[in-house]
Amino acid sequence: MKKKGAQIFWECMVREGVEVVFGYPGGAIMPIHDAMLEFPVHHVLVRHEQGAAHMADGYARTSGKVGVAMATSGPGATNLVTGIGTAMMDSSPIVCVTGQVASEFIGGDAFQEMDVTGITLPITKHNFLITRADEIADVVREAFYIAKSGRPGPVLIDICKDAQVTETDFEYPEELSLPGYTPPVQAPTADLQRAAELIEAAERPVILAGHGVLMSDAMDELRFFAEKTQTPVAMTLLGLGGFPASHTLSLGMMGMHGEFYCNNAIQNADLLLAFGMRFDDRVTGKLDTYAPNAKKVHVEIDPSEVHKNVAVDVPLVGDLKTVLGELNTMIEPGDREEWIEEIAKWRIDTVKHDILSWPNDGQLYSTSVINHIWEETKGDRIVTTDVGQHQMWTAQYYQFERPHRLVTSGGAGTMGFGLPSAIGAWFAHPDKEIWTVVGDGGFQMTQAELATAMQEGANVKIAVINNHFLGMVRQWQEFFFEKRYVATPLHNPDFVKLAQAYDVPARRVTEPDEVLPAIEFAQKTPGPVLLDFWVEKEEIVYPMVPSGAALHDMLRRPEKPKTPLAE
């Protein structure tokens, strides 16, 4: 049957299970927008294409499906770039669709022509330029498959305008033709055996659980493994939720702002079991002092990550769920009581301890605000964050028991991610209340999406941790630039009025005793709500590994508690 390219496009999108797309129209993609009416797909009109990409990302991370963002050619497409890079760094499966000038004009600097496949080449897992309608069906199938399988990532499809309007025979492709793309699944048995032997022999093992645990849905396998071998579990920022925070074997978050006892355990380990993580510089600290006495086993789906930053003894390239499933049949029950007790002794100044020792001076502290949000939401909300101090505090204080609850830009550290990713998450869970914790700086980068939230009635609760500073940069200035606060103080708009201008109910909170009522107000009010928390201006995220220092060499809170905290 003959169909127009744009119709074929939507036909294929629907077959991929697409129910919602985040986009912005423009000349080169108008035929696709126009053809949408015939299909059961909801289009969320964003206010800036960056928002569309982050929404698709938030949707993907919380739904387990592929998120879709759409934009027109030229500036529409380049506005997606930050969002695509963010998804790339965090291996988030999104498909971005951009209009392109008609194929006959390509290369001629036509109006709004830009080389979008060229621009996005290094920040996509793969990209396609479609010049003919008969390519659309194959490309859409391949794009979704590539985005979701193996190590997930963003895929971009650039479609020439003439391909969108040309009629062609449509037959849904049953087979994919990707001779160069077969993601690894199973690791070789001999290597699994070597890993099992190392595990058996280890006295001080630590599991490093990363984003791969969530993406490969290996939570049960991880838990079984940890419990059977009695191995403590440290998590990366994106691995949080992969193992329950309240579990006795959980060490919480590792790395630059991880718990001291967690980092210290890693440094003193004799075996590191890296499960779906990539030894980013934010979790290793100085490389030549990293876990010097530990043997390393690395389960990883992307072979190019193996030995990239840290040389390992046993690489197991494959899908984590499959590999751990196999490994779980080979391991023996372990007893590591001594090791676990030793780690417990290091648990003296935990971040939890920090807030309990805050003076009761009437000041509003960010850390206790976030701790309250955790308590009041029973620790069971999807929480997205922006980037900065509040992000680290959310990772520290919001105790994630389950996967896919924390949505945050880890690898790229993209300010402006918080609000749009929360809106995206809401479309994945329209029956749920989504929280986003944002800084006063980053919020302003994508605050225009308040309009999107309002227009769609998204149940997103926005907690602005308003310290009137670009806080994380200010913290570095305090530590490493002798408090020269260049370009970090913020003169902010009135966020309450701003929200109200968008018809979004809002409240300002300046006193500790207003926190709980405000959270309650947010939870009781349907749709988007903004809370503007005026917190202490110069708080610091402790503990901290200064860049270039060894992982255990952390700046700790100066006033240390005396006794370990019973938890």
Binding site: T117, G118, L121, P122, K125, H126, L129, I146, L178, P179, G180, Y181, T182, P184, V185, Q186, A187, P188, D302, P303, S304, V306, H307, K308, V317, G318
Partner: protein, 183 residues
């Protein structure tokens, strides 16, 4: 120079060379030469990539190449019996009497003079990297005006296959395992 030679089979699609080149630039892989052309299979192009072994980790290059969706297979042929060839055209300043000297050299190297003009000749030489470089070095004192080279191409002798360092890449192949060799 200790050299690493990789043979990569890639889908013959627009932009693939750009993807490979972009990857090398982004990952800071310095390469000596990159040659690309048709292979025995219509939709597959073949690349020969030469790298200075002291500068680049060939395993990392191989693993990264596999990240490209259009890369079908990569083999390291450096330490396997192979034939490698580089072709160069060298334009050398030459008046009538220098021509004889050049002709002598060219003969020793089993090269050819393929063009003779009033003030210069073009020499064509084919051979291993070492041979081509040696001739160029001997011609330099006479005044080399232009050089163009194809970069190295390589083929393994007999039924040999190269080393595959990246187990798991593109479908769980194990390194150097003959059974799992892909077509």
């Amino acid at each position: 120079m200790n050299q690493n030679l990789l043979i990569a089979k890639v889908e013959n699609k627009p932009g693939v060379l750009n993807r490979v080149a972009s990857l090398f630039r982004r990952r800071n892989f310095n390469i000596e030469s990159l040659n690309v052309g048709h292979s025995e299979t219509p939709d597959v192009s073949r690349m020969t990539i030469a790298m200075d072994a002291s500068q680049v980790d060939v395993k990392l290059v191989e693993a990264n190449l596999y990240k490209l969706v259009n890369v079908i297979d990569v083999q390291d042929v450096s330490n396997h019996p192979n034939i490698t060839r580089d072709l160069a055209l060298i334009k050398v300043t030459a008046n009538a009497e220098q021509r004889a000297e050049i002709a002598n050299l060219v003969q020793l190297f089993r090269a050819k003079v393929v063009d003779v003009a009033a003030g210069s000749v073009i020499v064509e030489v084919t051979g291993t990297l070492d041979k081509v470089e040696a001739l160029i070095n001997l011609l330099r004192p006479m005044g080399v005006k232009e050089i163009v080279r194809t970069g190295q191409i390589a083929m393994l002798r007999g039924d040999g296959i190269g080393t595959r360092h990246t187990p798991g890449a593109n479908g769980n192949k194990q390194s150097n395992n003959k059974e799992e060799e892909r077509k």
